[in-house]
Amino acid sequence: MSTTPRKRMILATAIIGVNEHTLWEHPDAGSQTAFSSFRHVAQTAERGMFDYFFLAEGLAIRERARRPFDHDIAGRPDTLPVLAALAAVTEHIGLVGTLNATFNEPYELARQLATLDHLSGGRAGWNVVTSFDAFTGQNFRRGGFLPHSQRYERAEEMVATVQKLWDSWADDDLVADKDSGVFVRDANAGAYEHHSSQFDIRGQFTVPRSPQGRPVIVQAGVSPRGRDFAASSADVIFSPFLKLEQAQPFHADMNARAVAHGRGEGALKILPSANFAIGDTEAEARDKARHIIEQQLSPRAIQVRFEQVWNRDLSGYDLDGPVPEIEAETSPDAPQIIQGRALIHSDRAATVREWQQLAREKNLTLRQLAHEVIATPLDFVGTPSQVAERMDDFVQANGSDGFVVSPEVVPAGIDEFVDRVIPILQERGAVRTEYEGTTLRDNLGLQVPARVPARAR
């Protein structure tokens, strides 16, 4: 028996919305916009004692050659009103929304998140993202107004400013005493001022201190700049690493960075996104996983994802024919054939050459190449007890502090996990059997950060 205390696995689930993973062709697939779908996933996750429900965000419809992508799930309701409505039909589960730091203003965002925290009794969280393209900017007043390098600068200042606004009311500023007629203790309640390279603002905040003081900050982004930002100000990191050999060093690096920022050990929780396929037997689970990947790699999806890296029209190439021996279009003035989808491969030319090389060696068609280099294998495939065991082991080995479990089928995909895997995880003592507290911070085991008063009393 190990003497170190057992780590409890943190669990979140998501409706990712616009993406190429969700199987709209699946016979059980439902609407990804109807409120009933959001309610089903959040309530089911709450039944499974999950820590939080999570929504991703994108602010522009993905395009190929100036036309909307028509083959993937597209279209999503607005994050904050969905979460506010979910607060009405859930009691314990955290409600975390992805909101862009580039295309929002701190006063407005701070107000909306503090409102959500009040309206949910302290269950609000914010996943801070910075956006990856200027294309999205075409939908906003100021356009794509920041180059990538300044987006983290803005994101850092955004979080700092938002936190300052959250701290602008003292806990006891709201008096509301009918007899004495004192509504606020101090006419300056909510007063703040912030002057930095990105924001030059002053005034009074309209929302008294919320139940969590500060809603939980989640951050996704793994460049060195992103890591430092997360280590200094995030509570949770939404990480992309699910191979133990990458995940352990990332976990260690992030914890070391957090400590270097003067934060306590364990102040930062790391949650990779994980998907699963469950079967009564391992073979059945493998079949399911294979089927999921085949559906994800529909012919048009393959074409678009290769086109994004090549930055060329590949519609003339047969998927069952050879891999095109043409180079990626990398000239800086060339228009992007694919817009609104994150480019994972920073060096397109090298990636294309690498893929061509691989195809030659293994004699692969385009479709076969897609299965080698584009398909994302499912993370946990097996019987419910195999899935539970592997997830638990991963957390105990400090691969992460838990997972964002994101099923491919909306909304019913979460049911199987909650009904079949959660009871085994509970038996192992790996997840909770009852919510510990009333706020998301309580349930994540996070401290309420000390308030930094904006003004002298």
Binding site: P68, G75, P77, Q138, F140, F183, G190, Q204, V207, R300
Partner: protein
């Protein structure tokens, strides 16, 4: 037969009287809790109201009037109105939800998807009250624009010019929001496995809006909502705001002070509609082509809670600041208030929006005494209407996207461009 009126209730903090929060029924310590808002909207729903509006602004009260004030004896602080409406939606069944969202500093793209989403989570009960941010305190919270030193004198030409600009910008903002609401046709999502298409890309449209103040490309990220075009309702007092309402809104909240001014307001609104050419777009549903639904706002303090309305008002006035209002203040019995409302119906108004002096007293009183009286007189329907909020206002309920209409119209026009 008198005409049937729509009935709205305007929710603001503890009520529209600045001392409302000190009444025995008031729950000022709960103003920032969900329970408070759910109960207020359920009260309004039980009272038989067609819709509630929820006030908002991007600065602290007091500061958001034209002059900053440092008071501690009145309600200060408020939650985001759109999110209150969304939080309340699953906890109510029938009532329309019309939050205020400002137009000056907010992004039309965000407003568009926010209100559309309220429409999704309320099953077609969403509306929007767009509001300009005129004061410097709101601008300072955003810090993006130069704001003139404003002297709040109606005759000051500099003020008039500045406000006119803000209205021009608001016109564009609402236009963009409405275009984004139309940027997905109703049946854009096809889920056609055979052709590997989730969407019909021909049914999504860029809006390519280029205006004096900003440009927005689109389409929206949010598909078309249940009502297609949620109801847009604007509070207006003067010529320029009437024009703004006439060109962009479905409903206009007005503030007639007596029978004579009531008739004058209706005439002014009609003249504004004429000037902006609203009638010429008649028959174009969903984008201000339909008849403008004119509502009269009244602040009400009913005989309730063991005191006459007049006594309640006097008591509240003596507590601190006396009630002053842009809208007529009516106190008294249900019969007395119903008389006022009957006169407005007679004058030609389509509805009334009541601003309760004290939410926790006047909203229940409206349900218990006033609405039964209005029903007895045939001024409001016997049972509150159901269905979408658009239906409640007599607006078309099947509103095709303007782009669908254009495409359908263009089919016979060889010069029309297509994306095919």
């Amino acid at each position: 037969m008198p005409r049937k009126l729509t009935l709205g209730l305007a929710l603001e903090g503890a009520g529209w009287h600045p001392s409302a929060w000190r009444e025995p029924s008031a729950r000022p310590d709960e103003l920032f809790t969900p329970g408070y808002w759910v109960e207020r909207v359920r009260d309004a729903e039980a009272a038989g109201a067609d819709y509630v509006t929820i006030e908002d602004s991007l600065a602290l009260q007091g500061a958001s009037a034209h002059v900053s004030e440092a008071r501690t004896d009145e309600v200060r602080g408020r939650l985001d109105a759109l999110l209150i409406a969304a939080r309340v939606a699953p906890a109510t069944e029938r009532i329309g939800l019309v939050p205020t969202v400002t137009t000056t500093h907010t992004e039309p793209f965000h407003v568009s998807k926010g209100i559309a989403t309220l429409d999704f989570v309320s099953d077609g009960r969403a509306g929007w009250q767009p509001k300009l941010s005129i004061n410097a305190a709101e601008a300072a919270n955003f810090g993006r624009r130069e704001w003139p030193e404003l002297v709040f004198d109606r005759d000051d030409p500099a003020l008039r010019a500045f406000v006119a600009e803000l209205f021009d910008e608001a016109d564009d903002a609402v236009e963009v929001v409405r275009r984004l609401w139309d940027s997905w046709e109703d049946d854009a999502e096809i889920r056609d496995v055979a052709t590997d298409r989730f969407l019909d890309a021909d049914k999504l449209h860029t809006i390519d809006f280029e205006g004096r103040f900003f440009s927005v490309r689109g389409p929206s990220i949010t598909p078309r909502s249940p009502q297609g075009q949620p109801v847009v309702a604007v509070l207006a007092h003067q010529q320029r705001p009437y024009e703004f309402a006439a060109s962009q809104a479905d409903v206009v909240f007005t503030t007639p002070l007596d029978a004579d001014s009531g008739t004058q307001v209706l005439r002014d609104v009609a003249a504004a509609a004429e000037r902006v050419g609203r009638g010429e777009r008649a028959g174009t549903p969903g984008a201000a082509g339909e008849a403008l639904h004119v509502v009269a706002d009244l602040v009400v303090l009913l005989d309730a809670a063991g005191a006459s309305g007049a006594d309640r008002l006097a008591r509240l006035d003596s507590r601190g600041r006396a009630l002053t209002s842009d809208a007529r203040v009516v106190t008294g019995s249900a019969a007395r208030v119903a008389d006022e409302i009957a006169a407005l119906a007679e004058a030609g108004y389509d509805g009334v929006r009541l601003r309760p002096g004290v939410l926790t007293d006047d909203v229940p009183a409206i349900g218990e005494t006033l609405v039964p009286e209005l029903r007895r007189r045939g001024l409001v329907p016997e049972t509150p209407a159901g269905g979408s909020l658009r239906a409640r206002f007599g607006l078309a309920t099947d509103v095709p996207s303007r782009y669908a209409r254009e495409t359908a119209g263009a089919a016979t026009t060889p010069t029309a461009s297509t994306n095919a």
